[in-house]
Symmetry: C2
Subunit: 437 residues, 2 copies
C-alpha cells in the first residue's frame, strides 16, 4: 500500500497543548498498551504498519512541521514537503510526483490519501487497505471512503451515493449543510466526506500535468511558489464522472475540540493530576511538572503546558479560537528533529531554556549575532564543536559562547543542557547556519 498522510493545521483549538509549531496531531494524548503516550500521528502510523507492514508511508506537510514529524516517526517515512502553501491540489500533485520520481511507484499502483488527524480504530486501517486494493482494479478513477454519519453534522461535506451497496457510484458531493439539510441527506443515505480517497498514480499524475506545467518532482518543487492555488475538490473531484464510494461503518471522529477529544480519551488524567470524588466528566491534560488539583467540578476540561492554562466547560471549549488569537505569545516549547526545547525563564535581557538532544543527534552548526550564550550540561555525555574546537562534555561542564561564535553539540547519550541566552534583542530569527568545518 502506498499512502500519503496529509499533515497540516495550526492547532489553536487545542491550546495550550497545541501552538504555532505543534498542531494537534503531534500531542501525545493516547496511552499505548505499554503505558507510553503517543500522538495521533504516531497512532495513525502504527495502525497502518499493523495492517501493512511494508506500506510506503509518506507524510505530506509543510516545513514548519518537519522537525516534529522526524522527532516522532524517525526516518521511517517519506516526506513530501511543500515549500509554500498552495492549497490541496498542488500538495497532492507534489506528493504523487514525489512517489513516482523518488520512490519509483508505478503508474498502475494505487495511492491512498488520508488526513492524519481523525480518531480511528483498527477497522479503519483495514478499510484503507481495501480502498487501496479497490483503486488498483476499479473502473472508477477516484475511490472514496464514505463515513456512515452518526448524527446530522454541519461540520462535514456529504457524499450522495447511487445505492446503499458497500461500494457504489457517487451521484454528487454536497458542501457542509445546515443541520436540517444534513438530516435530509442522511435520510437519502448520504455519507460524510472525510477527505479519504484512492486513485491509480498514473491518473493523478496526468491530472497534475494537465493543470500544472512541470517536468518532474524536482522541477515542481522548485517552481512550487508560483503554482496557482486550487483545491483538489475543484480541480478534480467535481469534474470527474467516474467516482465511487466505499462505505465505512467504524469509528471515525474529528477530535478538533477539547470536548470531542476528551470523549475519546478513556483516561481522565494525563500527566500529574488529582480529582476529588465530586468531579464528574472532568479531564485533565497536564504537560507541566506541577500537579493539578480539581475539586467539585462537572463537565470541565483542564489543560496546562508551558504556553498557558485552559479551564473550560467542555461545551464552551469549541469557542476557544478568538481568545487564543489574542494570546500572542512566545513559543514556549517545541519538539525538533534533534530533540526538544522548553523555555524555563524569560527576563528583559535574558532567556533560559532547557535543551534536550536525543542520542546520536545534534543541532545545526550555528551562530547568533546579537546574543551571547552559556551552556551548562546537566545530564548525559556529548561533544561540543565551538569555533572549530571539539570537546567532550559531561554534567557540570560549562561552555560560554560570545555573539558570533559558531557552535553545536552532538549527543552521545540523551543530553540535557540549560542554555542561558543573554542580549538585548533575543530572537529566534537571530541565527546563521554553517557547514561543519
Amino acid at each position: 500500500m502506498n499512502i500519503v498522510l496529509l499533515s497540516g493545521g495550526s492547532g489553536k483549538r487545542l491550546w495550550p497543548l497545541s501552538n504555532d509549531v505543534r498542531s494537534k496531531q503531534f500531542i501525545k494524548f493516547f496511552k499505548t498498551e505499554d503505558g507510553q503516550y503517543e500522538s495521533m500521528l504516531q497512532r495513525m502510523y502504527r495502525g497502518i504498519r499493523q495492517v501493512s507492514e511494508d506500506a510506503c508511508i509518506t507524510v505530506a506537510t509543510s516545513k514548519t512541521q518537519l522537525s516534529e514529524i522526524k522527532n516522532q516517526l524517525g526516518d521511517n517515512v517519506g516526506l513530501s514537503v511543500e515549500p509554500a502553501r498552495r492549497d490541496t491540489f498542488p500538495a497532492i500533485a507534489l506528493s504523487v510526483a514525489y512517489l513516482h520520481d523518488i520512490h519509483h511507484v508505478g503508474e498502475e499502483e494505487s495511492v491512498v490519501i488520508c488526513p492524519v488527524d481523525p480518531y480511528v480504530e483498527e477497522d479503519y486501517f483495514k478499510a484503507l487497505l481495501s480502498l487501496s486494493e479497490r483503486a488498483k482494479g476499479s473502473d472508477a478513477n477516484l475511490c472514496l471512503l464514505g463515513m456512515e454519519p452518526t448524527y446530522p453534522s454541519a461540520k462535514y461535506g456529504y457524499i450522495i451515493p447511487e445505492s446503499s451497496d458497500e461500494i457504489s457510484n457517487v451521484v454528487e458531493f454536497k458542501e457542509k449543510p445546515d443541520e436540517k439539510t444534513a438530516e435530509e441527506y442522511i435520510k437519502k443515505g448520504a455519507l460524510w466526506n472525510g477527505g479519504v480517497f484512492a486513485f491509480r498514480l498514473g491518473y493523478m499524475l496526468k491530472k497534475a500535468h494537465e493543470l500544472i506545467s512541470f517536468k518532474d518532482y524536482d522541477d515542481l518543487y522548485a517552481k512550487y511558489d508560483e503554482v496557482t492555488k486550487i483545491s483538489f475538490d475543484y480541480a478534480v473531484a467535481e469534474k470527474e464522472d467516474r467516482i465511487e464510494v466505499m462505505r465505512f461503518h467504524g469509528i471515525w471522529k474529528d477530535l478538533g475540540t477539547w470536548n470531542t477529544l476528551s470523549e475519546s480519551v478513556p483516561d481522565p488524567v494525563m500527566g500529574k493530576g488529582i480529582m476529588d470524588d465530586v468531579c464528574k466528566n472532568v479531564h485533565i491534560f497536564n504537560e507541566m511538572n506541577v500537579p493539578i488539583l480539581a475539586m467539585g467540578l462537572t463537565d470541565v476540561v483542564i489543560t496546562a503546558s508551558p504556553e498557558g492554562i485552559l479551564v473550560s466547560d467542555k461545551h464552551h471549549s469549541s469557542y476557544i479560537k478568538p481568545y487564543v488569537d489574542d494570546i500572542v505569545g512566545q513559543v514556549m516549547f517545541a519538539e525538533k528533529s534533534w530533540g526538544s526545547f522548553r523555555v524555563l525563564n524569560v527576563e528583559s535581557e535574558s532567556m533560559t531554556i532547557l535543551v534536550t538532544l536525543n542520542p546520536g543527534h545534534s543541532m545545526n552548526y550555528h551562530a547568533h549575532d546579537r546574543r551571547d550564550e552559556v551552556w551548562v550540561v546537566v545530564e548525559g555525555t556529548g561533544e561540543t564543536l565551538v569555533d572549530g574546537m571539539r570537546q567532550e562534555v559531561n554534567p557540570g561542564d560549562v561552555i560560554t559562547m560570545q555573539a558570533g561564535c559558531r557552535h553545536t553539540v552532538f549527543a552521545k547519550t540523551t543530553l540535557k543542557i540549560v542554555e542561558v541566552q543573554l542580549g538585548r534583542e533575543i530572537s529566534v530569527d537571530d541565527k546563521r547556519k554553517f557547514e561543519i568545518e
Copy 2:
C-alpha cells in the same frame, strides 16, 4: 500604641499560593491604590501605621517565617521569634518580655495582641487604638475586642457579655458551638472571640513569672524549649475575673478558604488571566508567567503557582486540606530576607533555580558538601565572594563552584542569577554556613 501581631499558620488551605514556607498572610492578594499588590501582613501593618504613625509594632512568629516577614516589612518592626512552638501563652509571655526588655515598654503601658490574618478595614485599626487606650485606664485586667456576629458560625468561640453596652463586663467564654447553639448565643447578645485583646504590660509580665520560671527576655528565650505548653485561654483568660469586652461592628473576616478569600477580593483576576463572557463568579489568582484562560465556568476559583494548579468549585474549596497533604512536594518558590528564589527545572541529578537578590542584600556565606553549582548572572551588578576571593559580576558572567567551595554574592542593584545545582543528592539540608573571612 504597642501592638503584637501573631503570625503563624501552615497555609495548606490556600494551596498552591501558600506552602510550607509561605502562610496565607504573605500572599499578595490585595491591590493598593497605586496598583501594587500587598499581602494581609502588609495590609495590616499599613492600617496600623495609618491610625498610629509611631506605633511600636512587633510580630510574634516562628523561625520559618522570619525571612518572609523581613522581605515584606523590612526593618520597620520588632520581631519576637519563638525558638520552638510552645502554644499561645508562652508565645505571648515571650513577646511581652521582649517589649519590656528590648523596647523598654513600661509596665503601665498597654499592649494589644492581634492575629495577623483576618480581613479588616479602616475602622478595625481605630478600634485597636481605642482598645489600647481603654486597657491603660480600665479596672479590668483584660480588654477584649468582641466582633458582632453576622451569622451563627461554628468556626469561632463566643464571648457572652453582661450587657449590650459598647463596653461591658464578660460573663463567660464559650467554645466553638454547633450552629444551633451559636444561634442561641447570638440571641443573648454574644460576640465572636477573634483573639484580639489588650492589657497592661505589667499585668501580663506578672502572670508570665507566676507560670514560668525565668529572669528576663534572654533567659526565657534560652530556655524556651523546656517551657510547658499551655494556651493563653487556659492559663489566663478562663481564670481572670476582671475582663471586659468592647464591641466591634465593622468588617472582620477570616479569609481561610479560597471561597471566603475570593469574596473579599474585588478584582476577579490577579496576574495573567482571561475569562469569556459566560464565566460567572470566577476568580483567577495566577502567580505563573503564563496566561490562564477560563471559559464557560460558574462559581470556580483557579489558582496557579510554581507549586501547582488548583481548579475548584468555590464551595468545595474548603475541603482542600487532605488533598494538599498528599501532594508532598518540593518548595518551588520562596521569599527570603535577601530576595527570593524560584525553581525552574528539576532533573534526576540537577536542579535549576532563579535567584533574585534585592539591592544591598546578600545570602549567607555557605558551602554544600554534595553538590556543585554554576551561577550565570542574567541581570544586575554585584560582587561574589568565592573561597575568600572577591569579584565584581555583571550579566553574562559565569561562576563555577565545586562541592565544598564557600560562596556568596552581594547585590549592588537587583541581581538575578540562574543557578544550576549538580549532584546526586541535592537537598536544602546540604548547607554549611560560615562567617565572612
